[in-house]
C-alpha cells in the first residue's frame, strides 16, 4: 500500500459544509428563495424525502441497473479509482452503486422487503448516513462510464451515481462547490457567473484582437445575427480563462467564409445539471440554448470543444427540458473536418512540429462516440501524432470529470487516482496532449502539475489555428 495514499475514511466522513448555503439564504439569492436550488434543512425528515424522490426516478433503465448487478467485479477491472486502490473495496463501482441499490431494495423490491439481511437491503438512518452517501457519489466517482461499458449485465453505474447525486441535490446535501456552481448557473445562465457585460466585452476584445491579427478591420464576431448557417456556443471558461479560443474559432470561421453568429443569451453550452444530477437545472440551461438557436433561426448549433457540454446539448438536454429540439447540432471538431475535407481552409502541419497525443474526453468518446474525427483533424494539422493507450472509448478519464474540479475537498484522492493518467501520458513521449474538452484541459493540467510532466495541454482548435494558412485579402472568397 502506498504510504502517501489517502485514508478513505478521510473522504467518506468529510462533514457537510453549508456556509455558502447559509450565505445564499441570508442574501436572499433568488434561485434559493423560489426553491429552484434547495438548501439543507436539518429539521426536515431528509431520509423520508429521499425515498419519495427516489420513487419518481425509477424508470425501466434505472430499475434494470438496480437489479442487474451480479457482483462479478468486472467494473473494478476498469475503474481508475479501483485500479489505483486495489486494496480498497469501497473504490469499486459496484460498492458505490450498492449504496443506492440497497435503499432501493429495502423499499421498492420484494426481496429486500422480505429478506433485507439476505440481499443487504438497508435504509439510511439519518442525515449523517446521507452525508456519507454524498461523499461516496460525489467524491469517489468522476462519472466516466468506463465501468458501464465493461459490465456484462449492462448495468449503468454512472446513471445510478447521477441519480443519487440528483436526490442529494434536492436535499441540499452536496459539496459546496456543487452548490456554488449550481447557484451561479441558475443566477447568471452560465456556470462561472460571467456577467453579460463581461461576456460582451470579451467578445469585442477578441474581435479587435483578431482584426489586428488578420489585418482586416472588417472581421466581426457576429452577435445575434439571424438566419446564419450556425450558432456557435461556448464554455464560460473560454470567457474567463481562455478567451483566445474564441478568437481562434472566429479566425477559422473567417477563413472558411462561414456565416455564423453567437447569441447574446443562451450561449453557455456547458451544463452542471449533468454532474449534479439536477434535471431541472439541466433542462433550464439546455432550453436557453435551444431557444436562442430558434430565435436566431440558426440552421445548426455548433458546440465548442467541451465534453459535458457536447453530451448535454447533443444527447441529454432536450430530455431534461422536455423540449422539442429539432435544430441539428454538432461538435466544432466535425465542423473542422468539413472545412478541411472541402478545402474551405488550408493548413500547414509543419507549424505544429512537436509530438502530439490525443486524450479522448469521456463525454465525447465514450458517451458521444466522437472518436475518429479528432484524429482525422490532428493528423492533418501536426506532423507527429501519437496514440495514447488505451484510447477512444477505452481511454481513462482526466480525473476532472463529473464536476470533480469544483469539489476541492476531494482533490487529494483525485490526484492519487490520476497516477494512471500520468503514466498514460508519459508513455506516449508526446510534448503536447491535445483534447477536445475544456474540463479535460483543467483536469490534465492538474495531473501534469502534480506529477511534474513535461507536457503542454492544447485543444484541437488551438492546433488548427496554429496551422491555418490565412489567405491574402484578394485570395479570400
Amino acid at each position: 500500500m502506498n504510504e502517501k495514499s489517502i485514508n478513505i475514511s478521510d473522504v467518506i466522513n468529510l462533514p457537510l459544509d453549508t456556509r455558502e448555503q447559509v450565505k445564499a439564504v441570508e442574501k436572499k439569492t433568488p434561485c434559493v428563495v423560489d426553491g429552484r436550488l434547495k438548501v439543507y434543512n436539518p429539521n426536515e425528515d431528509n431520509v423520508k424525502r429521499l425515498l419519495e424522490l427516489l420513487k419518481n426516478k425509477l424508470s425501466r433503465q434505472v430499475v434494470s441497473s438496480m437489479l442487474g448487478c451480479v457482483h462479478c467485479g468486472m467494473c473494478s477491472d476498469v475503474c481508475h479509482y479501483a485500479l489505483v486502490r486495489p486494496h480498497d473495496p469501497t473504490m469499486t463501482p459496484a460498492y458505490k452503486a450498492d449504496q443506492i441499490r440497497r435503499i432501493f431494495k429495502r423499499h421498492f423490491d420484494w426481496t429486500g422487503r422480505i429478506f433485507p439481511w439476505w440481499v443487504h437491503a438497508k435504509t439510511p438512518k439519518d442525515d449523517e448516513d446521507l452525508n456519507r452517501l454524498k461523499n461516496i457519489v460525489f467524491g469517489t466517482c468522476t462519472g466516466c462510464r468506463r465501468c458501464t461499458l465493461n459490465c456484462p449485465m449492462g448495468v449503468d453505474t454512472a446513471i445510478l451515481v447521477r441519480i443519487t447525486r440528483g436526490l442529494l441535490t434536492e436535499l441540499g446535501i452536496v459539496p459546496e462547490g456543487v452548490f456554488v456552481v449550481s447557484r451561479d448557473e441558475w443566477e447568471t445562465g452560465n456556470q462561472m457567473g460571467v456577467t453579460q457585460e463581461e461576456y460582451l466585452e470579451t467578445l469585442q476584445w477578441m474581435e479587435e484582437e483578431t482584426q489586428a491579427e488578420l489585418d482586416d478591420p472588417t472581421f466581426k464576431i457576429p452577435m445575434d445575427k439571424e438566419d446564419c448557417d450556425f450558432m456557435y456556443t461556448i464554455n464560460p471558461r473560454e470567457v474567463k480563462y481562455d478567451p483566445r479560443s474564441i478568437g481562434n474559432a472566429g479566425k477559422i470561421f473567417y477563413c472558411a467564409g462561414e456565416s455564423w453568429t453567437m447569441p447574446s443569451w443562451g450561449w453557455d453550452q456547458t451544463n452542471f445539471g449533468l454532474f449534479s444530477g439536477d434535471d431541472k437545472l439541466g433542462g433550464y440551461i439546455a432550453k436557453n440554448l435551444y431557444e436562442a438557436a430558434k430565435r436566431l433561426r440558426a440552421r445548426r448549433i455548433v458546440i465548442s470543444e467541451c465534453g459535458h457540454g457536447y453530451r448535454s446539448t447533443r444527447w441529454e438536454g432536450y430530455n431534461w427540458a422536455k423540449y422539442k429540439q429539432d435544430i441539428p447540432n454538432e461538435s466544432v471538431v466535425v465542423t473542422m473536418v468539413r472545412y478541411i475535407s472541402q478545402g474551405r481552409i488550408k493548413v500547414d502541419p509543419s507549424r505544429n512540429p512537436l509530438p502530439v497525443t490525443y486524450h479522448d474526453s469521456c463525454n465525447i468518446a465514450r458517451s458521444g462516440d466522437l472518436t475518429e474525427e479528432p484524429r482525422w483533424v490532428l493528423k492533418r494539422v501536426c506532423t507527429d501524432f501519437r496514440e495514447m493507450y488505451p484510447n477512444r472509448s477505452d481511454n481513462f478519464c482526466c480525473t476532472g470529470g463529473g464536476g470533480a474540479l469544483s469539489m476541492a475537498e476531494y482533490k487529494p484522492l483525485r490526484m492519487e487516482v490520476a497516477r494512471i493518467k500520468a503514466e498514460q501520458l508519459k508513455a506516449t513521449g508526446a510534448k503536447i496532449v491535445c483534447t477536445s474538452c475544456h474540463n479535460c484541459v483543467d483536469g490534465l493540467t492538474d495531473v501534469i502539475r502534480h506529477y511534474k510532466l513535461d507536457i503542454k495541454v492544447a485543444q484541437i482548435l488551438d492546433l488548427v489555428a496554429e496551422a491555418l494558412i490565412i489567405p491574402k485579402k484578394n485570395e479570400k472568397k
Binding site: 455558502e20 476584445w205 484582437e209 474567463k240 476541492a408 492538474d446
Partner: protein, 175 residues
C-alpha cells in the same frame, strides 16, 4: 505613454519591479495601476484562495478577506509612494494573462512591468518569457538576480528611449 501596469508580487523581484514602475510613473507623471492576484489552487473554486504568498494555507474568500487583502496591498505600497497620488489598486481573479489582456482592452495601461522570479517561471499557465515576449504591449521584466537587470520584449525595445534605461542594463527576452 499614458499609464503603467504593474503585476504586484510580494517578493524581492516584485519589489524591484515596483521600484522601477514607480520611478518611471513619477518621472513621467502618469498613472500607475497595480494589479494583484488572489491565487487559488483550484480552477473552479474561486472562493478558495491561498492565504498568502507562502501558498501553504487555503482560505475562503469572504468580503472581510477581500477588504483585508486590499488593505494589505495598499499598505504594502503606500508608504513607498510618498505624495504620488496617481495610483490605482485592483484585486484580480482568474488567469493572469487573460485578465491583463482584459485590463489592456480597457486601456488601463500601455506599458506592463513584471517581476522576473526565475527563468521558466509560470505565468498564466505559460512560461513567463513566452508570455512577455508575445504580449501585445511593451513589457519590462525586472530581475531575477539584481534590481537593475531588465528584460524587454520587442515592443519595449521599440520605445527604449521612453523607458529610462541605460545601455547595458537591459536585454531582449530570450524565449
Amino acid at each position: 505613454m499614458e499609464a503603467i501596469g504593474l503585476c504586484s508580487h510580494y517578493s524581492r523581484q516584485g519589489d524591484w519591479a515596483f521600484d522601477y514602475a514607480f520611478r518611471l510613473a513619477s518621472k513621467k507623471d502618469i498613472q500607475l495601476n497595480i494589479f494583484h492576484w488572489l491565487e487559488s489552487p483550484f480552477r473552479f473554486r474561486r472562493e478558495m484562495v491561498y492565504l498568502d504568498e507562502k501558498k501553504e494555507k487555503v482560505v475562503r474568500v469572504t468580503d472581510e478577506l477581500q477588504v483585508k487583502k486590499e488593505y494589505e496591498l495598499r499598505e504594502y505600497y503606500e508608504s513607498r509612494l510618498g505624495d504620488f497620488v496617481k495610483v490605482g489598486f485592483r484585486l484580480c481573479e482568474g488567469n493572469e494573462g487573460a485578465e491583463l489582456a482584459r485590463c489592456l482592452h480597457r486601456k488601463e495601461y500601455d506599458l506592463l512591468v513584471l517581476g522576473y522570479p526565475e527563468r521558466g517561471a509560470d505565468f498564466g499557465g505559460q512560461q513567463i518569457e513566452r508570455f512577455a515576449a508575445n504580449f501585445r504591449v511593451p513589457v519590462v521584466m525586472v530581475g531575477p538576480d539584481k534590481p537593475n537587470s531588465f528584460h524587454l520584449n520587442k515592443r519595449a525595445v521599440d520605445i527604449i528611449d521612453q523607458l529610462g534605461l541605460k545601455e547595458g542594463e537591459w536585454s531582449l527576452i530570450q524565449v
